[in-house]
C-alpha cells in the first residue's frame, strides 16, 4: 500500500490525494442523487396510488421507462443526446460547462431520476400494504388527501419499506461508477488512472475495492440506525402489519 504515498506524475501531490478526490465525487454524486431520488420517487409513488385521473398512468409510464432502460444508456441520453435535442443555444451552453460539472450534473440528474423510479415502486408497495382502514379512518376524521398522505400514510409506508430502501441506498454508491463512462473521475475511474500510470494493478484496484467495502458498511450502519430510531414500539418486530 506504499503506492498511496508516492508522488503522482503531475507532481502536484500523492496518489492518496487522487483517491480522496475520487471518493469525494462518488459520495457527492451518490448523496445528491439520493436526495433527488427520494423526493421524485415519493411523489411518483404517491401518484401511482391515487384512485383515478391521469396521474397514476403518468406515474406508471415514468417507472416503466426508467426501469427498463439500462442506466448506462440513460447516462448517454442525458450527456450526449439531450443537448442535441434542446434549442442550439441551451445545448451549446450545456456542452461547454467546465470539466467536472459538465459530466457531474448530467450524472446527478440521470442517477437521481433512475433511482427515483425504483424508490417509487417501493413507496407504492409500502402504501398498498397499509390496511384500507387507515384511509377510511383518515377520511372520516376529515383529513384532506395531501395531509392524509403526509401525516398518516407515508410515515407508516416508509417504516415498512425501510429494509428495501437500505438496499437501494447501498446500490446508489455502486451505481455512481457508471458516471465514469461520461468522464467523471470518481473512485473506479481513479483506480483505472492509477493503474495506467503505475501498472500496479493489485494495489490500485485493491485500495478502491476496500474503500467501496467501507462505504457499503457505513451505508448499512446509517440505515439500520435510522431503522431503529424510527421504529414504533407498538409495531416492533420489523414488518408493520397491525
Amino acid at each position: 500500500m506504499s503506492l498511496l504515498f508516492e508522488p503522482t506524475p503531475d507532481g502536484a501531490g500523492r496518489y492518496l490525494d487522487w483517491i480522496v478526490s475520487g471518493l469525494g465525487w462518488t459520495l457527492g454524486l451518490a448523496l445528491g442523487a439520493w436526495t433527488i431520488a427520494l423526493v421524485v420517487g415519493t411523489l411518483v409513488g404517491v401518484a401511482r396510488t391515487l384512485p383515478k385521473g391521469i396521474l397514476p398512468r403518468l406515474g406508471r409510464v415514468y417507472v416503466e421507462t426508467f426501469r427498463n432502460i439500462p442506466l448506462l444508456v440513460q447516462m448517454f441520453f442525458w450527456y450526449f443526446v439531450l443537448p442535441e435535442l434542446l434549442p442550439v443555444r441551451i445545448g451549446m451552453a450545456i456542452k461547454q460547462m467546465d470539466p467536472p460539472w459538465g459530466s457531474f450534473i448530467p450524472a446527478l440528474i440521470c442517477l437521481g431520476l433512475f433511482t427515483a423510479a425504483r424508490i417509487a415502486e417501493q413507496v407504492r408497495a409500502g402504501l398498498q400494504a397499509l390496511p384500507q382502514g387507515q384511509i377510511q379512518a383518515a377520511s372520516a376524521l376529515g383529513f384532506a388527501r395531501g395531509r392524509m398522505y403526509r401525516l398518516i400514510l407515508l410515515p407508516q409506508a416508509f417504516r415498512i419499506i425501510l429494509p428495501t430502501l437500505t438496499n437501494e441506498f447501498m446500490t446508489i454508491f455502486k451505481n455512481t461508477s457508471v458516471a465514469l463512462t461520461i468522464g467523471l473521475v470518481e473512485l473506479t475511474a481513479t483506480a483505472r488512472e492509477i493503474n495506467e500510470n503505475t501498472f500496479r494493478t493489485f494495489e490500485a484496484f485493491g485500495v478502491v475495492t476496500i474503500v467501496y467495502l467501507v462505504i457499503a458498511l457505513l451505508a448499512w450502519q446509517i440505515m439500520s440506525r435510522i431503522e431503529r430510531a424510527v421504529q414504533l414500539p407498538a409495531l416492533a418486530g420489523g414488518s408493520a402489519r397491525p
Binding site: 461508477s177 483505472r192 457499503a216
Partner: protein
C-alpha cells in the same frame, strides 16, 4: 436536429449482431450464475463454519462493489492468473469475450446465491427432516427435493434479476466490447449519429425488458394461485 431514419436502418444489421453478443453474455451469466450461485447458497447453509463463512464473505464482497470494478479486476488479472497457472511467467492475452463471461458468472452468482438462499429458507423445515428420515444423501436431497422447491418459490425474483443482468451487460462498454450498446457507440462515432443510435438502442432495450417484465408479472400472478 432531425432524426435520420435511414441511418438507423443502415446500422440495423450491425446492431443486431451486437444484440446477439448481449444475449450470449446474458445466457452465460444466467446459467453460470445460477449454478455457481446455488453452490454458494448451499455452502452458506453448510454446518461447516469455514465453508459457510467463506461463501458469505464472497457474496458480501461481490455485492458491495460495482460491476464495472469487477470487470476491470478480471480484465487486468485474468491474463496474469493464466500466465501464472501455465508457468509462462508473464500475462497471457485473453479475449474480451472470455473476460466478460468470467466476470458475469462471478458477479451474478453472488446475487443469484442470495435469491436461491431465500428459496431454501422458504421451504418448511419438515422437508429437510423428511429427506434425512428417508435416508437420502445430502446430494440427492438437494437435487431432487429441496432445489426444485426453492427455485419454484423464488422464480419471479430469479427472472427479475435476469432482466437486471440483461441490462447490466451494457457495462461491458468500459472495455470496448461490441455488445448492443458497444455496436451503437461504434456506429455513432463513425457516422456522427449519436442521437439516432442511442435513441434506437434505448428503444430496443426498453421493448425487450418491458415485455420480459410483463411476462414475469403474469407468471407471478399464476404462481400465486398455484397449488402449494
Amino acid at each position: 436536429m432531425m432524426v435520420d431514419l435511414s441511418a438507423i436502418a443502415a446500422a440495423m444489421p450491425y446492431l443486431l449482431n451486437g444484440l446477439w453478443f448481449t444475449v450470449q453474455i446474458t445466457v452465460v451469466g444466467v446459467t453460470g450464475g445460477i449454478v455457481f450461485g446455488s453452490l454458494l447458497a448451499v455452502a452458506r447453509l453448510s454446518r461447516n463454519r469455514i465453508v459457510s463463512s467463506l461463501a458469505t464473505a464472497y457474496v458480501n464482497l461481490m455485492r458491495s462493489i460495482p460491476l464495472i470494478l469487477v470487470i476491470f479486476w478480471v480484465f487486468f488479472l485474468v491474463p496474469w492468473a493464466i500466465g501464472w497457472m501455465t508457468h509462462s511467467g508473464r500475462p497471457v492475452a485473453v479475449g474480451a469475450s472470455l473476460t466478460i463471461f468470467v466476470t458475469f458468472v462471478l458477479f451474478e452468482a453472488a446475487y443469484y446465491a442470495e435469491i436461491v438462499r431465500a428459496g431454501f429458507r422458504s421451504i418448511s423445515p419438515g422437508q429437510y427432516a423428511a429427506c434425512e428420515a428417508l435416508g437420502l444423501s445430502k446430494f440427492h436431497a438437494y437435487i431432487y427435493i429441496l432445489f426444485p422447491q426453492a427455485i419454484r418459490n423464488v422464480l419471479p425474483i430469479l427472472l427479475t434479476q435476469t432482466i437486471v443482468l440483461f441490462q447490466d451487460t451494457s457495462l461491458v462498454y468500459v472495455i470496448s466490447a461490441t455488445d448492443l450498446l458497444g455496436a451503437a457507440t461504434k456506429v455513432a462515432q463513425r457516422d456522427g449519429r449519436l442521437v439516432e443510435m442511442y435513441l434506437t438502442v434505448g428503444v430496443i432495450y426498453f421493448v425487450i425488458c418491458y415485455a420480459a417484465s410483463q411476462f414475469v408479472k403474469q407468471l407471478q400472478g399464476r404462481l400465486a394461485y398455484g397449488v402449494r
